[in-house]
């Protein structure tokens, strides 16, 4: 128990310590620190569940390993991405904010108190907002402001639900509230409903999602990867913990269904590739929300499998988007042509990541979606299932049609921006295949 608590503390400490080391020893310290965090998060798997200062069970661990891994990849990518670029903020400020951003996500995941979870989520907004203006454009400044105002106003709304939880239960301890089991009361129902709109702002639930495409599209690639891959899932984790207090399944299920429909429609007419991937994130987060809402082994396993696979796949998509932008300086889908010949490595990662985020087999996202569908079927939610299936197919066609146009239509003379950035894109896109295969092997063994 003590060892597990120490590991949980270490996870919070390493990002900041690696930044301190960076000030003296350079960028390699950030990469070493990121790798160390993945190793510590991996070790936590073997420890017991915690319910003291920290609340950590298997679900928390999945999110912790996700944050640690994507942070490691993003920091490594950032060290190359910003090389020779004129930044809107100083480079060391960027890495400081990146470290604080990561620590605040770990804090939100690990802390055993709903009030402090809220504080952690708000801290992610504060620490990440200035990361958006790293590329110093007028649009990134506007996107930063929209992100700050919309998310803060929304998350403030969520604080109302924290007050109501404390009023009803007299405690904010996550472990004692969850171990007590679900409790139904009008005030708790109100708290869980308000949390859906409040924390839902950060998760990307329609109609409070409007900051999401702006922030994702205007931030630098490693920041977009962190936002899409781990920030939204962290907010989803907090929302899920609140949901467990009084599960309002129909409300959360239909909020997810409507959001998936909206995301697919918006996705269909996007002209910029990063905005397209942002809406794809919204779609995936809401599908995971549905998995958590229906619960059961299929729902929860499906949601976790979808989230962890999506985090790597979407990080891969944004790393590749960063490489393409670095090589071409263009943001519009219609302006990018013939990548297959000019940038073969980035093309491979773009193809793999776009297939992964749209739930194609054998990527882990496919199996996650499959389990959520199975959960919906077993609970006789046929109508929501039909709507979700229709809009997922629409999104699949929209994303892959656009990506195939970028890859195979016409010709171009771009060149890969070095070796590390395309490699990280391929690595991130390939991990969901591995997750999918591991799941199949484990699943077949349990039969």
């Amino acid at each position: 128990m003590i060892a597990q608590t120490l590991l949980a503390l270490l996870i919070l400490f390493i990002p900041v310590a690696s930044y301190a080391a960076y000030c003296f020893a350079g960028k390699s310290s950030l990469i070493v620190g990121g790798g160390l965090n993945v190793a510590v998060a991996g070790l936590m798997y073997f420890g017991p569940d915690l319910s003291g200062i920290f609340y950590i069970d298997f679900t928390t661990w999945v999110f912790v390993i996700m944050v640690a891994s994507v942070h490691f990849l993003s920091v490594t990518y950032a060290t190359k991405y910003f090389h020779g670029t004129d930044l809107g903020i100083r480079e060391n400020t960027f890495y400081l904010l990146m470290s604080l951003f990561t620590t605040s996500m770990f804090f939100s995941l690990e802390i055993n108190n709903f009030g402090l979870m809220w504080v952690g989520i708000e801290a992610t907004t504060i620490s990440s907002s200035l990361l958006l203006i790293a590329e110093k454009t007028e649009t990134s400044l506007e996107a930063t402001w929209r992100y700050l105002v919309l998310v803060s106003a929304g998350v403030t709304f969520a604080f109302l639900s924290i007050i109501l939880i404390f009023y009803s239960l007299g405690t904010l301890d996550v472990s004692s509230i969850i171990s007590h089991g679900p409790e139904a009361s009008p005030v708790l129902a109100l708290a869980v409903t308000i949390a859906l709109m409040g924390f839902g702002t950060k998760v990307g639930i329609f109609p409070v999602h409007t900051w999401l495409p702006d922030a994702h599209s205007e931030s630098p690639a490693p920041v977009s990867a962190m936002f899409s891959g781990v920030l939204l899932p962290t907010a989803l984790y907090v929302l899920y913990r609140v949901y467990e207090i009084d599960p309002l399944t129909p409300l959360y299920l239909w909020a997810g269904v409507v959001s998936i429909a909206a995301a697919s429609i918006f996705l269909g007419y996007q002209t910029r590739y990063k905005r397209m991937f942002a809406y794809s994130t919204m779609e995936n987060m809401n599908l995971a929300l549905i998995g958590f809402a229906i619960g059961g082994t299929a729902g929860i396993t499906g949601a976790l499998l979808l989230l962890i696979s999506h985090s790597f796949a979407k990080a891969g998509a944004f790393y590749t988007s960063g490489s393409i932008f670095k090589a071409s300086g263009l943001k519009k889908i219609s302006e990018i042509k013939g990548l297959w010949k000019s940038m073969p490595a980035s093309s491979a990662s773009l193809l793999m990541s776009s297939l992964a985020v749209t739930g194609a087999p054998p990527f882990g996202t496919f199996f996650g979606e499959f389990l959520i569908f199975y959960g919906l079927l077993s609970m006789h939610y046929y109508f929501p299932l039909a709507i979700i299936a229709f809009f997922l197919v629409t999104a699949f066609i929209a994303v892959n049609h656009n990506v195939s146009g970028m890859l195979f239509d016409g010709e171009s003379s771009y060149s890969e921006p070095g070796k590390v950035m395309p490699f990280l894109g391929i690595l991130s896109s390939a991990i969901p295949v591995l997750i999918g295969l591991v799941f199949v092997v484990v699943y077949l063994e349990t039969l």
């Binding site: 203006i133 649009t139 700050l148 105002v149 403030t156 943001k331």
Partner: protein
């Protein structure tokens, strides 16, 4: 006790609401910053009064936190960023009288609907009064949201956000104050957010639609 409540708590809460309407009616940045300071100071004073009525020292600490962090530090941060050029001193392209009218209609409708549908049945901490007192934080909350939505300057939107946070503090005071450690963390979070926002203020005073961010 009841006399104290009637004499102080309701009137102070009313003054907090008046300050919110004052903010909504302002188009000059400096007046809005001062309005926010007065609102936060009134909130701090209210915390002292409730602390006295309830004999609860936590309210006194809360009052000190509100006065120091919100009424003083937030105001100081914003005041430092108020532009010296007169052209930037006020909100342009916003018909304040019209938005004030729309605000009144929307806020009053929303507050009464939500109060009668939801909050009427919630019981308060003894001695504070009847559940009608929830009308104050609810109105303040919607005022804050409307201020963010109806204005284009960064300053007005930050103040709208602070007002929204003030509403939650007021709500928690009337219902059941949450543990001080959490309340203090929330105050520090808000302060940090204002600091970050004040950095954006330097680069971008007002906000308009941008083609790249449509869709």
């Amino acid at each position: 006790m009841n006399a104290l409540i009637e004499v102080l708590i309701y009137p102070i809460s009313s003054f907090i609401l008046i300050s919110a309407f004052y903010l909504q009616a302002q188009e000059f940045v400096r007046s809005m910053v001062i309005g926010q300071m007065i609102q936060s100071a009134l909130l701090g004073f209210l915390s002292f009064v409730i602390g006295f009525a309830e004999s609860d020292y936590d309210f006194f600490i809360l009052g000190v936190l509100i006065v120091v962090l919100r009424a003083f530090l937030v105001t100081y941060m914003l005041e430092r960023r108020v532009p010296r050029e007169k052209i930037h001193l006020h909100e342009k392209k916003v018909d304040v009288a019209f938005t004030f009218l729309v605000n009144l209609i929307l806020v009053v409708t929303a507050v009464f609907l939500i109060y009668f549908l939801i909050f009427r049945s919630i019981h308060l901490v003894p001695d504070i009064g009847s559940s009608t007192i929830f009308i104050f934080p609810l109105t303040l909350f919607f005022q804050g949201l409307f201020l963010i939505a109806s204005r284009k300057t960064t300053f007005a939107q930050i103040i709208g956000y602070v007002e929204e946070e003030n509403a939650l503090v007021l709500f928690a005071m009337f219902l059941l104050p949450i543990p001080l450690i959490i309340e203090a963390s929330v105050f520090l979070d808000v302060l940090a957010l204002v600091v970050v926002s004040s950095i954006v203020v330097i680069e971008k005073f007002a906000h308009e639609k941008m083609e790249d961010l449509v869709g």
